[in-house]
């Protein structure tokens, strides 16, 4: 058993030594791998940041009803109380046009410009919040139809539709990122496979001699597998550093932008678990690339005395 570990340790140290002796070539290969891994990882991280914000909207099931401009406030109050009587409706809050304008003046920062208005452009509105048991898309749709049927109603806006749309867009982006990550992963395997191939042929004489004295294919292959794992692992580590520092650089501007919209949105930093996953993926891709390349090319090198 100790012999087994010693053999692997030997192959590992040998592979590390080869990489360290050619620092520039190693750095270039690692850089290519790191860039290929950085792109999908940073996009995935961005999407998960946005998703965590949109999940705050998960209880955004309110339905906003805008009335026609000429509707009297008394009529609105009357319709509000009939809405309260409908099953599935939790609460109804009437927002008169003048209150809405006041709120808008305060929040938007357009106060001075709004002073210039001679009359209120905003309609009366009301917020209808469904009871907790009546928030399925079908329930909301039926509520929307019920409210739209009133002749005084101009527009019924279901807030959750925006959340659904955002989620659909995020889903689409996630798939695009997954697809490109798959392609870039194949690219990483190809880059590592090719690097290993070159190394195998540059060490042809050594491989022949090793086979001549009875080295098995597995023995000859082992250091190359470690080389592949090193390339992939180092590339993934560099990618993690790039993602982290990129997030750090963008953090302050993004926070400023988000604050100006009254949001506390922030870019997520990669967690240790995600970094570990990235390292595992990098090392795994390296192993696959090295294995494919070594199995293919080592079998062709047979000793010729």
């Amino acid at each position: 058993m100790s012999g087994y570990f010693a053999r692997h340790l030997q192959a590992l140290l040998f592979a590390a030594g080869r990489l360290a002796r050619a620092p520039v070539a190693t750095a270039l290969t690692v850089l290519v791998i790191a860039i290929a891994l950085t792109l999908p990882s940073s996009f995935a991280l961005l999407i998960s940041s946005v998703r965590s914000v949109s999940s705050d909207f998960a209880n955004a099931v309110d339905v906003t009803v805008y009335f026609k401009r000429d509707t009297a406030i008394e009529k609105v109050q009357q319709l509000a109380s009939s809405a309260r009587g409908r099953s599935g409706v939790g609460s109804v809050k009437v927002i008169p046009a003048d209150k809405a304008l006041e709120q808008f003046r305060k929040d938007s920062g357009f106060g001075a410009a709004l002073e210039a208005l001679t009359d209120n452009p905003l309609p009366h509105a009301m917020d209808v919040r469904p009871t907790a048991g009546a928030t399925s898309p079908a329930d909301l749709e039926s509520l929307k139809r019920y409210l739209s049927a009133w002749p005084e109603v101009e527009l019924v806006q279901v807030d959750s539709e925006w959340v659904l749309r955002l989620n659909a867009i995020l889903d689409l982006m996630r798939r695009i990122v997954l697809g490109s990550a798959g392609l870039l992963g194949v690219g990483v395997v190809a880059v590592i496979g090719n690097t290993i191939r070159l190394e195998i042929y540059s060490r042809r004489a050594e491989i022949e001699i090793t086979k001549l004295v009875g080295g098995s294919n597995a023995f000859v292959r082992r250091p190359f597998l470690y080389t592949g794992v090193f390339y992939g692992g180092l590339g993934a580590a560099l990618a993690a550093v790039l993602v982290w520092s990129g997030g750090h650089l963008l953090d302050a501007p993004v926070a400023r932008l988000a604050r100006s919209y009254g949001s506390d949105f922030a870019l997520a930093s990669p967690t240790w678990g995600q970094v570990g996953l990235l390292l595992a993926i990098g090392a795994g891709l390296g192993l696959i690339g090295a294995f494919l390349s070594a199995s293919r090319h080592l079998a062709r090198i047979e000793p010729r005395p």
């Binding site: 022949e208 004295v213 010729r304 005395p305």
Partner: protein, 230 residues
């Protein structure tokens, strides 16, 4: 130890290197394989060390039929054979110690055992004080002795040498032959392919002479009982 039974070898380019060659080398004997260039000496050694398989006939080495050995067992088969080459085939970037250790490393020997055996093998060829040197820092004769140390470090029952004295002056050649004879004396079967006829005559051992891929003659100098068994 080695038996060739009507062995023919034709290379992919159509050259017929051996034609119906039969001979036997008993265990523990030291034999020369001679003949002109192109007579088939190298092919015989390649067939013994399973670098080639016979086209027809049977090659038995240490009881194993090389024509039928599956590829995955070839590494283990080669570990029973120590090979010495005219051009040494040393790893030029590795130390003498690492070169000699290679057959043990590939055979998964424990590191303590490796150290013991490498030192013993280098001691036998008189190079124990050079184990940190690189091959190209040694003279040609020393490099050949490193090659021999590597061939015997795993104590194989069979030692095969292809023109081991090709690049050496007569005195160094004589030293190398004496080394081989010492291994023969401890029970190792030794096959030496050479065209150095003076060396063969001086050694006074059995000689298998090849010509055009066939057995031309078997000479015995001072050895009274030559048996071409069966």
């Amino acid at each position: 130890m080695i038996r060739f039974d009507r062995v023919a070898k034709r290379y992919p380019n159509g050259r017929e290197a051996l034609a119906a060659l039969s001979f036997e080398i008993p265990a523990g004997e030291m034999v020369f394989l001679t003949g002109r260039s192109g007579a088939g000496k190298s092919t015989v050694l390649r067939l013994i060390s399973l670098l080639e398989r016979p086209t027809r006939g049977q090659v038995l080495v240490n009881g194993q039929d090389t024509g039928r050995l599956p590829p995955r067992l070839i590494p283990a088969f080669r570990r029973q054979i120590g090979m010495v080459f005219q051009d040494h085939k040393l790893l030029t970037e590795r130390s003498i110690y690492d070169n000699v250790a290679l057959p043990l490393i590939v055979a998964h020997t424990s590191l303590r055992e490796v150290d013991k055996r490498v030192r013993a093998a280098l001691d036998q060829v008189g190079l124990l004080d050079r184990l940190r040197a690189l091959p190209l820092e040694l003279s040609v004769g020393e490099q050949q002795r490193v090659g021999i140390a590597r061939a015997v470090v795993s104590k194989p029952p069979l030692l095969v040498a292809d023109e081991p004295t090709g690049n050496l002056d007569p005195q160094l050649s004589c030293e190398v032959m004496n080394l081989f004879r010492r291994f023969r004396d401890v029970g190792v079967t030794v096959v030496v392919a050479t065209h150095d006829m003076q060396l063969v005559r001086e050694a006074g051992l059995r000689e298998i002479v090849l010509a055009d891929g066939k057995l031309q003659d078997i000479h015995v100098a001072d050895v009274p009982t030559l048996e071409v068994r069966r």
